[in-house]
Symmetry: C2
Subunit: 221 residues, 2 copies
């Protein structure tokens, strides 16, 4: 049991953050979920986040509205098309400028206000291959900055940023989640679902997810 009981969980509604919520619960934290309505084209992930938060018995679930469409710069927040031809070299156009530092900063404010010192985020090794803000260098630097930015950090009782999936593959993540009772049918990974929330099956997020489930099924058969 952890002495510092409450934690903020960044919950997108995708499979990674659902797994992270289950991990934080297992570690004994009372979990407060934080989701963002930021103008993403996959708004239906927020319905998934609500269902996942409810299933795992969070203490509270805050959905904060942020307008990241004001400056665009990403396929997820503008008219730029979501690629559906498989992974390309370099950082994909689905990268949203500064998204994780924005999300973590809001989580930090929430944490400090309620006296929590632990923040969980579902960045992982697969995302690492594309997004700069999914790497451990970034997470470590953010933690250090958070402890200089805040009253709680300066007065000694600092923050810990937990990224328990950072070195895990999608298959390892799903396997761990299944052990912890995550119901992945509730989660939503697609970057470009239709109006009913049905995944496109072709974007990078769908491909990674589907490939991992296929492999798990093959192993199980």
């Amino acid at each position: 049991m952890n002495a510092r009981r409450s934690a903020i969980i960044l919950l997108s509604g995708g499979l990674d953050s659902a797994t992270v919520l289950a991990i934080a619960k297992e570690q004994g934290f009372e979990c407060h979920a934080l989701s963002f309505s930021y103008g993403q084209r996959h708004q239906s992930e927020l319905s998934a986040a609500k269902a996942v938060a409810k299933k795992h018995g969070v203490v509270s679930h805050v959905v904060t509205s942020l307008d990241l469409t004001a400056w665009g710069g990403s396929a997820l927040t503008s008219d730029i098309e979501v690629p559906k031809e498989g992974k390309s070299d370099g950082i994909p156009v689905t990268y949203v400028p500064a998204r994780n530092i924005i999300f973590l900063s809001h989580a930090l404010g929430f944490a400090e206000a309620i006296g929590s010192r632990d923040i969980f985020i579902g960045v992982n090794a697969v995302d690492y291959s594309g997004y700069p803000d999914c790497r451990s260098e970034f997470i470590n630097a953010f933690e250090e900055t958070a402890n200089l930015a805040t009253k709680a950090g300066v007065e000694g009782d600092g923050f810990t940023i937990h990224a328990p999936l950072i070195e895990r593959s999608k298959i390892e993540i799903i396997t761990r989640g299944l052990e912890l009772g995550v119901d992945y049918s509730m989660t939503q990974s697609c970057y470009d679902p239709d109006e009913t929330g049905t995944p496109c099956g072709a974007c990078d997020a769908c491909r990674l997810r589907d490939a991992a489930f296929d492999q798990i099924k093959c192993r199980g058969s």
Copy 2:
């Protein structure tokens, strides 16, 4: 003239950020102002920000809505009373959890999206005495984290966080601003103005501002 021409200026509508905008303009930057409607009780500062942005000829002025009242934790975003008895020891209750890291993170997203690599913020030595996120340790750590968090940072053409007032007193700031043509009658510093935007004259922000103007007047007479 600076080779990297455009910059994001965090513009609250107070005297510090108005001065910073004038400094950035003088340095040759094309300025994009960014303000936040975050549930602050001194919403009238946004009207001041608009007037200041217009006077100094910004290229664009984005006002982003963020809800920092969801978790409160500050006299500026909740029912906690704004102190009017002069400065007390320690970090004041007007401290908003993680505010500057949140604001800088949004500025970073804006900067990256429009191809700017320079962000200006009006933190200063007077605030330093109270707020952890007005210290150079924090600003330097944020800059480092920003360059790990972003595509532009990782790909080499990194960001600079400019805090030109950080070592300046309020008197030095105002003196510099007057040289650069800042009209301080447009600015709004009060934490707790009435509905018409009239300053209370008693909160820490009013006291610091009024004392500085009084001293400048005395010197001038």
